[in-house]
Structures are given as structure tokens and as C-alpha cells.
């Protein structure tokens, strides 16, 4: 039986890449293949120019030290305190005791666990345990962080705080993050690009915005549907977009300027404008308003240019055909 076949992904340095799929789609196998916890029968895995599949056991161990990983069930050593758990990877690299101590307190601060250094995992909440997991994964300054359903065992509020932490780490350290999940909210909240996995194959991939606003595959539509159904204030009915419509997604840092720009757009007599709805982002700044435009293409171009000049981020997710 094949868990995965013909999977080809190229992940950019510094991006947050999400892989979404139902359970059994093979996403767990896929992420575990990136650090060779699962060995592929064919194909290669290359990180930062080094082909992992060509390494011997010792070289692979070396290489794994620069690939952090966090897990759904945290996988902490319950016999060790928070500080000792974070020390584990540093012991493996034989870091001097004094530097180890400094690094541990630095990491504890980074993940917001001040005062918990001497606590045992059993005394922590799920969110705190995952923070320990993150600190442990970052200990040896990895190039990549793999997240294996890292928030699936957490409640929505804790999930949010962990995702915020991951995004922060991604920004401040420039760390590449690859995550798998079955929740669209996770993808939407922190991912730059997304791949949809179904039956061991990648059926769709692209930027989150484009996959979101114009899902091609039924399975992707299902994910988008379940998501918007729960979170968005309006249902977005994509089927309402006719072939001759152009769909754009809009967001802005300045809400007042955004409202003004949107009023101008709606007041444009030479365009037929329809607002589909809102796709929730991390914050109001990344909330995206999905709008469909109908009209002559040069008018549409002009309208988009106008929006941009008014400080609105415009992404064309579907051009008229």
C-alpha cells in the first residue's frame, strides 16, 4: 500500500507552508518524511541544498539537529522538568553547561514560560506543554520547524496563542515552518502557502489567498466551506461568480482609508460590483474582503490601481475569462 505518491513540494526559505488534508490523507507520513522518520521508497528530500536521502545514519542525525519538530501530543519527557526537557537537544550537541543554561533561559523567555523552569510537564496545561515543545525544537537553532498537528490537541483559544507564537518566531528568526493540519483556521491564520493533500496526492497548492478565494478541487471547497461556515460573518458563495467576473481580495492596515476606497469602488458607475464577504485573517488588518467586479478590463485595471494607490492590498484571485 502506498501512503503517498508523486508528491512534489518546494518550500521557500522563511515561509510558513501548510499541508492540509483529512485524516488518512497521508499528511503525517509526508511531514515525517521531511526528517526521514519515515523513509520514502523512492524520491529525494533536499533541505538547504543537502540531500537527506543520501546521508548515512550518522550524517542524518547531524542533519536532524537542524530540523526542529513539534508534535500533537507534545512528546515531552515527563521525568524531566521544563528546563531539563529543553536541555535535552543541547545535551545531544554537547553544549557546555554554562552556555546551555543561558540558552535555556533565553528559550524559556522566548516562548513565554517564565517561572515554569522547574515545573514538570504533568503540572502544565496543554498550551504550556506545546510551548516547551517549541522551545525544545528551537534549542539548536534549526533551519526548519516541522509541526505535526501541533495544535490539534488544544482548544481554540490555546490554538490561537500557539499559532501567534509560531508566527512570531517565523518573523523574528526567519525560520521556515512546515505544518500539517486538518483545520483550515490554522492554515488561514499563519500560512503563506498551502498544499491540499488527498489520497496521498497533492491536489491543489498555491498562496493561501488564492486557494481560499478560488478553490478548484471539491476537497478544497469543503475545507474552505467548513471554515467560512463557522467563522466568517457572511457565507461566500463562489459559485455566484460568473465566468466574466474578476474576483479580487482586499485588505488594508488602515480601516478608515479602506472604507473610503471601498466606497469609491462601489460608487464606480462603469463597474458592476458585488461584495462576496469577508475571510477572517489573523487580525482586522489581514481580514480580506472578497469582491467581484464586472466590466471592461481596462476599467477594472484602473479600479485596482486606484485601490492600490489608496493603500489597499489587492490580490486578483480570478480574472475574467
Amino acid at each position: 500500500m502506498r501512503a503517498l505518491s508523486d508528491v512534489s513540494l518546494s518550500i521557500q526559505e522563511g515561509e510558513v507552508f501548510g499541508i492540509i488534508g483529512y485524516s488518512g490523507a497521508g499528511k503525517s507520513t509526508l511531514i515525517r518524511m521531511i526528517n526521514l522518520l519515515e523513509k520514502p521508497t523512492a524520491g529525494t528530500i533536499t533541505i538547504d541544498g543537502r540531500s537527506l536521502t543520501d546521508l548515512d545514519e550518522r550524517q542524518l542525525r547531524e542533519e536532524r539537529r537542524s530540523i526542529g519538530m513539534i508534535f500533537q501530543h507534545f512528546n515531552l519527557l515527563w521525568s524531566r522538568t521544563v528546563a531539563e526537557n529543553i536541555a535535552f537537544p543541547l545535551e545531544l550537541t554537547k553544549l557546555k553547561k554554562k552556555q546551555r543554561k543561558e540558552r535555556i533561559s533565553e528559550l524559556i523567555r522566548m516562548v513565554g514560560l517564565e517561572g515554569k523552569a522547574a515545573a514538570y510537564p504533568a503540572q502544565l496545561s496543554g498550551g504550556q506543554k506545546q510551548r516547551v515543545g517549541i522551545a525544545r525544537a528551537l534549542a539548536n537553532n534549526p533551519k526548519v520547524l516541522l509541526c505535526d498537528e501541533a495544535t490539534s490537541a488544544l482548544d481554540p483559544k490555546t490554538t490561537d496563542s500557539i499559532l501567534t507564537l509560531l508566527k512570531e518566531i517565523n518573523k523574528t528568526l526567519g525560520l521556515t515552518i512546515i505544518l500539517i493540519t486538518h483545520e483550515m483556521t490554522v492554515i488561514q491564520k499563519i500560512c503563506d502557502r498551502v498544499a491540499v493533500l488527498d489520497g496521498g496526492k497533492i491536489v491543489e497548492q498555491g498562496t493561501v489567498a488564492s486557494v481560499f478565494s478560488n478553490p478548484r478541487q471539491t476537497i478544497t471547497q469543503e475545507f474552505v466551506g467548513t471554515h467560512t461556515g463557522k467563522k466568517a460573518p457572511f457565507q461566500i458563495d463562489y459559485s455566484a461568480a460568473h465566468a466574466e467576473e474578476t474576483v479580487i481580495s482586499l485588505s488594508s492596515d488602515d480601516q478608515i482609508a479602506f472604507q473610503r476606497a471601498l466606497s469609491h469602488l462601489l460608487g464606480n458607475a462603469r463597474l458592476s460590483v458585488k461584495v462576496f464577504g469577508l475571510v477572517r485573517g489573523e487580525s482586522v488588518r489581514t481580514d480580506r474582503t472578497i469582491v467581484s467586479l464586472q466590466g471592461a478590463s481596462e476599467i477594472i485595471h484602473k479600479a485596482i490601481d486606484d485601490l492600490r494607490s489608496e493603500g489597499v492590498r489587492v490580490e486578483v484571485t480570478k480574472k475574467n475569462e
Partner: protein, 221 residues
């Protein structure tokens, strides 16, 4: 009461207690290390283990099963030639040690193996993902994480082992078993048997108490 006390030869009672403690302590130490080594080998060479090896696994598993199944009183007799070979005698507390250890270590090995199986597979995987070697996984993950089972298992094994020292006493090992049999049963002095029993019970309760405390202390789950 004084008559009751006088009917007991206290110096030899204390001497016997000392012999029992001696046999328990020495065979306990050997059982501990041998049991952990065998238990680890069983766990590591089993299917899906870090050093999966069906031949070694079968070999150790059958050794453990055989010696765990032989009734102790028969094991002592069977091991007489072996004891004479390594110690030159088959009488005395030291001569009882090989059979006591061989009787208890396989039993303890199984308890250790069960404890190791309870270690979360995810934690082992996490250690592998961090680039740990197999030896590092054994020392830094498997043994510390299974410590509560290793410790409670040792308590059980030690108590079983005390029973065996008493049985070994019947065939001339000395200790509380010998005194209870020779001077209690054979000489028809029930008081001696009774006192020997009380002392053994005190030792057992003490070991249970200490074992429970250690187990509770190392268990951070």
C-alpha cells in the same frame, strides 16, 4: 513471657537475620542489574525495537521463560553443580546466591520489559527527530522514563527474593529459613518459627514501604 523469650536463642536469631539480610542485599543488587540488562535486551531486540533481532530475542526470551517457570526449590537442586563450579561449595549463605539471583533476575527482567514498553513511543520518536543516538535514547529516554516501573518492579522482585532466601535456608543456606526449619520445625519449637516469621514480615514491610516511597518520588507523571 520470660519463659517464651528464653526459649529463643537470640544471638543465633540475630545471626540468621543478618544472613537473610546479606543474601537479600547481595542477590538484590545482582538481580537489579541483571534484570535491567535482560529487560533492556528483551525490549530492544523485540519486533520494532531499536536493535530488532529475532534470534537474540528468542534466545533471551526462552532463557527468561525457562528460569522463571522452574519452581525455586527445584532450581536450587538443579544449580548445585553450577554453584560448586563457581564457588567451590554448596553450603552457606554465599552458596545460595547464584540460585537466588538466577531465580529472581528473569522475573525482574520481565517486569523491566513491561515498564519499558509503557514508555511513550512518541517520546522516543521525538528523541530520534532531535538526532539522538540509540545509546542516548536508552540512557536519556528509556531508563529515566521507565524509572517508576523499574522501581516498583524491584520492590516486587525483592519481596519474592526474600521468600526464596528462606527456601534456600532449608537446603543449608543459613538465615531465617534455616533457623525456622531446623530449630523451629525439626526441634518442635514453634516460638522460633513464629519469631522468624515476624522478622521476615518486618523486613518485607520495610522493603515495601521504602520501595513505595522511591516509586512515588521518581514518578512525575
Amino acid at each position: 513471657m520470660s519463659e517464651w523469650v528464653q526459649s529463643v536463642d537470640w544471638p543465633s536469631m540475630w545471626l540468621s537475620t543478618g544472613q537473610t539480610l546479606y543474601m537479600t542485599a547481595i542477590s538484590g543488587v545482582f538481580t537489579f542489574f541483571l534484570g535491567i540488562a535482560l529487560g533492556l535486551l528483551l525490549y530492544l531486540t523485540a519486533k520494532g525495537g531499536l536493535y530488532e533481532n529475532p534470534i537474540i530475542y528468542k534466545l533471551i526470551a526462552s532463557f527468561v521463560n525457562v528460569f522463571r517457570s522452574i519452581p525455586f526449590i527445584i532450581l536450587i537442586i538443579l544449580l548445585i553443580p553450577f554453584t560448586v563450579l563457581i564457588l567451590g561449595t554448596m553450603i552457606g549463605a554465599t552458596a545460595a546466591l547464584p540460585s537466588i539471583i538466577i531465580g529472581a533476575a528473569p522475573f525482574y527482567a520481565r517486569l523491566v520489559e513491561i515498564g519499558l514498553r509503557e514508555v511513550d513511543k512518541g517520546v522516543i520518536e521525538a528523541a530520534q527527530a532531535m538526532g539522538a543516538t540509540r545509546l542516548q535514547i536508552i540512557w536519556k529516554v528509556l531508563l529515566p522514563e521507565s524509572l517508576p516501573s523499574v522501581s516498583s518492579g524491584m520492590t516486587v522482585a525483592l519481596i519474592a527474593l526474600i521468600g526464596n532466601t528462606a527456601m534456600a535456608g532449608v537446603v543449608g543456606a543459613g538465615g531465617l529459613g534455616t533457623i525456622a526449619y531446623n530449630e523451629g520445625f525439626e526441634a518442635n519449637n514453634n516460638t522460633i518459627t513464629f519469631i522468624a516469621t515476624i522478622i521476615i514480615l518486618i523486613i518485607v514491610f520495610f522493603i515495601q514501604y521504602i520501595g513505595d516511597r522511591i516509586t512515588r518520588h521518581v514518578d512525575k507523571r
